[in-house]
């Protein structure tokens, strides 16, 4: 998708006034977090598993070159193909070439954030193919021609009336008087429509939650079963993944799977966790004839060994998103990136560049909830701060903000002058504010007083009072 992160503030302002969105977000804010809490409480080893999950990803990243080569080798041994894509253009072309080589017309797609990153649907459509998203949420937003607003619940911003509207507009062959009042009715219709697509598709594209170096397998985790139909029925299965999805062994994958679903939706395990290894084997009655893995870099190799290295541990569970007070307030579209919330605010500048997305690392209260719930313990606030530092060093920082900080710093390291100035100002503010205890408005502080009263100071500063009392100074 096209990045729209530079409009964060306007997007957010709009989102705060969108009542439908706010209703959905309110539900999200209590739903996933409570379920995660319950799942974690049920598994005494959960915290220890998080430590191991972190260590596994750390080890893999430290030796990523080794594991990538091993993985490639194993995929080839089991009859599959590996394609390397350094950027989005590269990746799209590889996918299209594979489709073209088998004369494909229709393509089904399982949910894939790498697919979103590549905007693969758009590209294939331009080339005359018909890609169909099969994850229910992705299908809905594809019909509405909008980007996902959440990495595992892409249509979370929508109400059922939006879905009904999209279905009536698209499924014109169905009787207009049909009932689509309830989520059940909508699901029934989507299931029937998509069933035909699954069976007719020439190529199936899925993402991958993990690549396993030991076996050359890719792993998808879904609840609907759409990913499995996507990769089993067509003649060709293409997997889109990025370099950091690697783990060494099946056992390592098991550990990560134990923290993934619990962190994401609070499920003990997602409904379908499927390992794909090569194309269909000799005696297999079904399965694809071809198995292709497209491994995308798109800026990630630059993150290795750098400030945002640890972000590459991310397993895309969305726990940080679900728990973020800012995401809960404005939803995913405000971020203008396919990766919203805390993880997105670290990842988006790395992939698209900081100039395009400088609001994102700043739009955080640094409350630390994201790090608290991250299954692989990514220090997200620290990484947001590292982007802010980069921005401060050589990026765009509003001149007033830079000035304000410099002025503050100038006085702060000159305590005598600072205390003298503070004494006078607080005295004045204290007198003026005495009547109400606060100010409804105040010069230069509209950002605060627009929606909050500004508490009045007591009048004298502590330093002043301490001196008056003759308190100990050394």
């Amino acid at each position: 998708m096209k990045l729209n992160a530079h409009n964060f503030k306007e997007n957010a302002a709009k989102a705060l006034k969108d009542e439908d969105l706010q209703a959905s977000l309110a539900k999200l804010g209590t739903g996933f977090p409570l379920k995660r809490l319950a799942a974690a409480a049920r598994l005494p080893e959960f915290e220890a598993l998080r430590d191991q999950a972190r260590d596994i990803k750390d080890h893999t990243l430290r030796h990523l070159d080794f594991y990538l080569e091993k993985f490639e080798c194993k995929v080839q041994e089991t009859g599959g193909h590996v394609h390397w894509a350094r950027d989005i253009e590269d990746g799209r072309k590889i996918v299209y070439d594979i489709c073209e080589s088998v004369g494909a017309k229709t393509v089904t797609k399982g949910k894939s954030m790498i697919g979103e990153e590549m905007a693969i649907n758009e590209y294939l459509e331009e080339k005359g193919l018909i890609p169909v998203e099969t994850d229910l949420g992705e299908y809905i937003i594809q019909l509405r021609n909008e980007p996902p607003s959440h990495i595992i619940a892409p249509a979370i911003h929508l109400r059922k009336s939006h879905v009904e509207e999209a279905f009536r507009k698209t499924h014109t062959e169905l009787p207009p008087e049909r009932n689509l009042d309830e989520p059940e009715d909508l699901l029934k219709e989507a299931r029937a429509m998509l069933r035909k697509k699954f069976i007719a598709a020439d190529v199936g594209i899925t993402g991958a939650n993990f690549m396993i170096a030991e076996t050359g397998s890719t792993v998808i985790v879904t609840n609907e079963g759409n990913g499995d139909l996507t990769q089993t029925l067509p003649r060709v299965h293409i997997v889109l993944c990025s370099i950091e999805k690697m783990v060494p062994n099946l056992e390592d994958c098991a550990t990560l799977l134990r923290v993934l679903a619990r962190s994401a939706t609070g499920q003990e395990q997602s409904v379908y966790t499927t390992f794909s290894t090569g194309p269909k084997q000799m005696d297999d009655p079904d399965g694809p004839d071809q198995f292709h893995v497209v491994i995308l870099d798109n800026g990630r190799s630059r993150m290795l060994g750098h400030d945002t290295h640890d972000m590459l541990r991310c397993i895309r569970c969305s726990a940080c998103i679900n728990h973020c007070p800012v995401y809960q307030s404005v939803g995913g579209h405000a971020y203008g990136s396919i990766y919203p919330g805390p993880m997105g605010s670290v990842l988006t500048p790395a992939i698209y560049g900081l100039e395009q997305s400088c609001d994102l690392p700043n739009a955080s209260t640094m409350c630390g909830k994201c790090e608290e719930v991250c299954p692989v313990r990514i220090p997200i606030p620290q990484m947001l701060r590292s982007w802010r530092e980069k921005q401060w060093e050589d990026g765009p920082v509003p001149i007033l903000q830079r000035l304000a900080m410099s002025v503050w710093a100038f006085w702060a390291v000159r305590p005598k002058a600072y205390h003298f100035g503070a004494k006078i100002k607080m005295r004045l503010l204290g007198l003026l504010g005495r009547k109400n205890g606060h100010f409804k408005s105040l010069l230069f502080s509209k950002a605060w007083t627009k929606s909050r009263d500004f508490p009045a100071p007591e009048g004298k500063t502590f330093q002043q009072l301490w001196s008056e009392k003759g308190g100990r100074r050394s």
């Binding site: 539900k27 999200l28 598994l43 005494p44 598993l49 080890h59 430290r62 030796h63 990523l64 070159d65 080794f66 990538l68 390397w84 350094r86 590269d90 229910l136 949420g137 809905i140 619940a153 892409p154 249509a155 979370i156 929508l158 109400r159 699901l187 069976i199 030991e214 076996t215 397998s217 609840n223 609907e224 079963g225 759409n226 499995d228 089993t232 029925l233 370099i243 062994n249 099946l250 056992e251 390592d252 098991a254 003990e268 395990q269 997602s270 409904v271 379908y272 966790t273 499927t274 390992f275 290894t277 090569g278 269909k280 084997q281 009655p285 399965g287 870099d297 190799s301 993150m303 060994g305």
Partner: protein
């Protein structure tokens, strides 16, 4: 430069810059070729009886239904009974699995093979079950088509209690043990934990999104060896 060389080169360069401690190739090969289990939750580590009751509890929690049978021979009867309860015709599509094929299906309208999407009910054998989350391990193969696990509305899975283990790792160990080659993975290995579901519309949980609406598990407690 090929994209492959470009990416691997960038990865090496970046890792070099990070000055990470690196294990030797020998250590890495050893880690890869002699896989070690990480921490395995205690909950699945009870005896066979405890594992079975945990499996049933966990599977039931995620909306699967479970029947415990004394012998494999009872499967056709149990399937017929289940279909009747669900008010379905007695028509089933069977996996071409020797243990299923040797049973007497004469009371039902049974056909064999993979599915093309016209089957309402599929019956398959599980490769294994993992007690810790009530999950079934289903592997593709001549005796186990993947389409039967995802296309039919009703997914009936036969699990021999002897194939029930505590955790996922035990299943991976068995896969490695039973294969004499290094490529021990089937094309498809699926962990199935309950029937298909979605919460994509207003976060309302609905069963039967694209895969099966119902998952019915028949656990054979005497392993089908005698009856």
């Amino acid at each position: 430069m090929s994209s492959r060389d470009y990416i691997l080169g960038r990865v090496r360069w970046s890792l070099g810059r990070g000055a990470f401690e690196r294990d030797s190739c020998q250590q890495l090969e050893a880690r890869l070729n002699t896989p070690q289990s990480n921490l395995i939750p205690k909950r699945g580590q009870g005896d066979a009886k405890a594992q079975l009751s945990l499996f049933v509890k966990m599977a039931t929690e995620v909306n699967a239904t479970v029947s415990r049978l004394k012998a494999l021979e009872n499967v056709p009867k149990a399937v017929a009974k289940y279909l009747k309860e669900q008010e379905l015709d007695a028509t089933v599509r069977l996996a071409d699995h020797p243990e299923l094929q040797k049973l007497d299906w004469s009371k039902l309208d049974a056909s064999t093979g993979f599915s093309t999407g016209d089957d309402l009910v599929g019956v398959v054998m599980a490769y294994a079950g993992a007690a810790e989350t009530g999950s079934l391990a289903l592997r593709s193969g001549a005796d186990s088509p993947t389409t039967l696990n995802f296309l039919p509305d009703y997914h009936i899975v036969v699990l021999k209690a002897a194939d029930l283990v505590g955790d996922y790792e035990a299943v991976y160990a068995r896969l490695r043990r039973e294969s004499n080659k290094t490529d021990f993975m089937p094309r498809t290995l699926s962990w199935v934990t309950g029937p298909s579901r979605t919460a994509d519309i207003e976060q309302t949980l609905l069963l039967g999104a694209h895969g099966p609406r119902k998952l019915h598990i028949l656990v054979i407690e005497d392993n089908g060896e005698a009856s």
